[in-house]
């Protein structure tokens, strides 16, 4: 029983990280109806920047905030420079551009920082009094919840959040009432990049820093976003925790650790087949 509880709680901790990244995916999906394949590599790159800052002697929390800021600006830049020209292209062109972004970020990180594993510090203390979870795991869950609360407050209570929701829901009408829809999309990308950066900095102490560290995490985040419903932020968080727990419990007790990624594969295909809108997503009807 103890072992089971331990796996569930550890699953919740990694689930928090998947939830953050899934939230970033949903962010971009809501604004543009695109799935950003480069989300994981953007987060990885931001984490490397944080590592550079820490190595330059910046204390953890200022470096943490600074990285989020840089990622935010970077996300906006990527939207403006790379994504905008293909906004209205066929899906294939957009997917190709995202995959291109993925490999460029991956190789540039490898180029600058080499492919050797680097350890990344955790801001939380080493020892804990709670026997089932390490302080980093508790901290990761806490930070996910803080990010979620902040986002909820932003979209619910600020005029800018309202404008962004309007731009995502009905671009034409939003434009008519004076919202600059293009910039709202860019802002969405910036926010997504910032959330991804948080996820990256939380996962790096667990998996170590290397250019390919987000490959698996991104897959789980996809699964999480789909399980929760790709257009539902709350669903993404729920899905993240669920996928984290499922992955850990199934990996530990049922199928073994070597097939963990297949859990994500089966979840993705299963959800898409059985209930493509996920648990909390909207069902879309297309008229001929």
């Amino acid at each position: 029983m103890d072992a089971f509880l331990h796996q569930v709680l550890a699953g919740l901790a990694t689930g928090g990280i998947y939830a953050s990244l899934a939230l970033a995916l949903v962010m971009i999906y809501q604004a543009t109806h695109l799935v950003n394949f480069a989300q994981g590599e953007m987060a990885m790159f931001a984490t490397y920047l944080a590592w550079s800052l820490l190595n330059a002697g910046v204390p953890y929390w200022p470096a943490f905030l600074l990285t989020i800021g840089i990622a935010f600006v970077g996300g906006i830049l990527i939207e403006r420079v790379v994504v905008r020209p293909v906004e209205n292209s066929p899906v294939l062109a957009i997917v190709v551009v995202f995959i291109a972004l993925l490999v460029i970020l991956n190789s540039v990180a490898g180029w600058i920082y080499t492919y050797t594993l680097k350890s990344f510090p955790s801001p939380f203390p080493e020892q804990s009094s709670f026997k089932f979870m390490s302080p980093h795991e508790i901290g990761a869950i806490g930070i996910t919840l803080v990010v979620l609360a902040a986002l909820y407050a932003f979209f619910r209570f600020t005029p800018l959040g309202l404008a962004m929701r309007a731009a995502a829901q009905n671009p034409e009408s939003a434009r008519l009432v004076g919202i600059r829809v293009g910039w709202m999309l860019a802002l969405g990308w910036g926010l997504a990049a910032a959330i991804g950066a948080v996820a990256g900095m939380m996962v790096a102490p667990i998996v170590y820093l290397d250019p390919n560290m987000m490959g698996g995490v991104l897959l789980y985040a996809f699964a999480a976003a789909l399980v929760g419903g790709i257009d539902s932020p709350g669903g993404a968080v729920f899905g993240g925790f669920l996928v984290g727990v499922l992955e850990n419990v199934l990996g530990a007790f049922v199928i073994g650790n070597e097939l963990k990624l297949s859990v994500a594969l089966i979840l993705i295909i299963g959800v898409l087949l059985v209930k493509p809108s996920g648990f909390f997503g909207k069902v879309h009807v297309t008229r001929v």
Binding site: F37, V95, A100, L273
Partner: protein
């Protein structure tokens, strides 16, 4: 048309002479170009012609490669006999994967196949399959020698063998795509509902396209395994699938000759870029992908077509 046939004959002549002029290593690289060309034609049937995006074709390539390796290593089959087997297995696997994929469009299919591509190395390492797959170590297979006492060394023989297979596959592909089936696939890509209204059986065509595409890629995988003489799980990661995507984007979507241009690109450009840095090939790939999408969406094949058309009508 006459001009085209003349051009193809000249190209074939060059292809036949080439292995006698260059080193064995270059011949091996050229063999891989032919292998990639088959794989790219397969992906192009699916993504270029029928508009279903696959980011996981490396998985079918891996399946074909493992089929060949296991049949040669465990069942003692000769190398040439493994190709039809690999093709058949991949056709079935592709068809089955295509059935659920029917319900997935555009981005979602890209997501599902991306997941397949990422998960594939793990599946190949699965320890209950180790008896056949050799686990992380993979399988080493012997190099075929030239039969009937032909005056060719092993590399040259394999090159000509691959060339023959490629020509057969391209001929089949050309016949398939220029006729009724090709038109049906393009119609589905451009407007699925209209195609359905015209009497095209969307589900059947789409899943068959998936199967045929996997068959091509699987045969390529088998040939690739024989050429490299080795299969291991980590050589079939998601980046292999992305390489194929780069190949069809650069070569030209929905174009048969594009597969060849794309294959040349993915074989030789990394070699050149490698001299700058280990990471450089991927940066170059990425920049080329974005560049082609922005500036030359029809790829090299489209540009060649345009040049030829311009010369014809001055």
């Amino acid at each position: 048309m006459k001009k085209n046939i003349f051009l193809i004959v000249v190209l074939l002549g060059v292809a036949c002479v080439l292995p006698f002029l260059v080193s064995n290593y270059r011949t091996f690289q050229l063999t891989l170009v032919l292998v990639y060309a088959i794989a790219l034609l397969g992906l192009n049937i699916l993504t270029g012609y029928s508009g279903q995006i696959s980011l996981g074709h490396g998985a079918f390539y891996a399946l074909g490669a493992y089929c060949a390796a296991i049949l040669m290593d465990k069942a003692g089959l000769p190398y040439w006999a493994t190709l039809p087997a690999a093709g058949a297995v991949c056709f079935v696997a592709g068809f089955l994967f295509g059935l659920p994929a029917l319900r997935l469009e555009g981005l979602y299919l890209a997501l599902a196949t991306f997941a397949l591509g990422v998960a594939m190395p793990q599946l190949l390492k699965y320890h209950h399959l180790e008896k056949w797959t050799g686990g992380v170590q993979g399988i080493v297979i012997p190099k075929p020698e030239a039969p009937f006492g032909l005056p060719l060394n092993a590399d040259q023989w394999l090159y000509f063998f691959t060339l023959a297979v490629m020509l057969a596959m391209f001929l089949l592909g050309w016949n398939l795509l220029r006729g009724r089936v090709g038109r049906a696939l393009t119609a589905i890509r451009d407007h699925a509902i209209a195609a359905e209204a015209m009497g095209v059986h969307n589900a059947l065509y789409k899943s068959t396209a998936f199967g045929v595409s996997a068959l091509y890629t699987g045969v390529a995988g088998a040939l690739g395994a024989i050429a490299v003489q080795f299969v291991a799980p980590d050589s079939f990661n998601i980046f292999l699938s992305i390489v194929f995507l780069v190949g069809i984007v650069v070569g030209g979507l929905a174009s048969i000759s594009g597969a060849l241009y794309g294959a040349l690109f993915i074989q030789f450009v990394p070699n050149i870029a490698d001299e700058i840095s280990k990471a450089a090939p991927w940066a170059v790939f990425g920049i080329f992908m974005i560049g082609f999408v922005y500036l030359m969406p029809t790829g090299v094949a489209g540009a060649v077509r345009l040049l030829l058309a311009r010369r014809k009508s001055p």
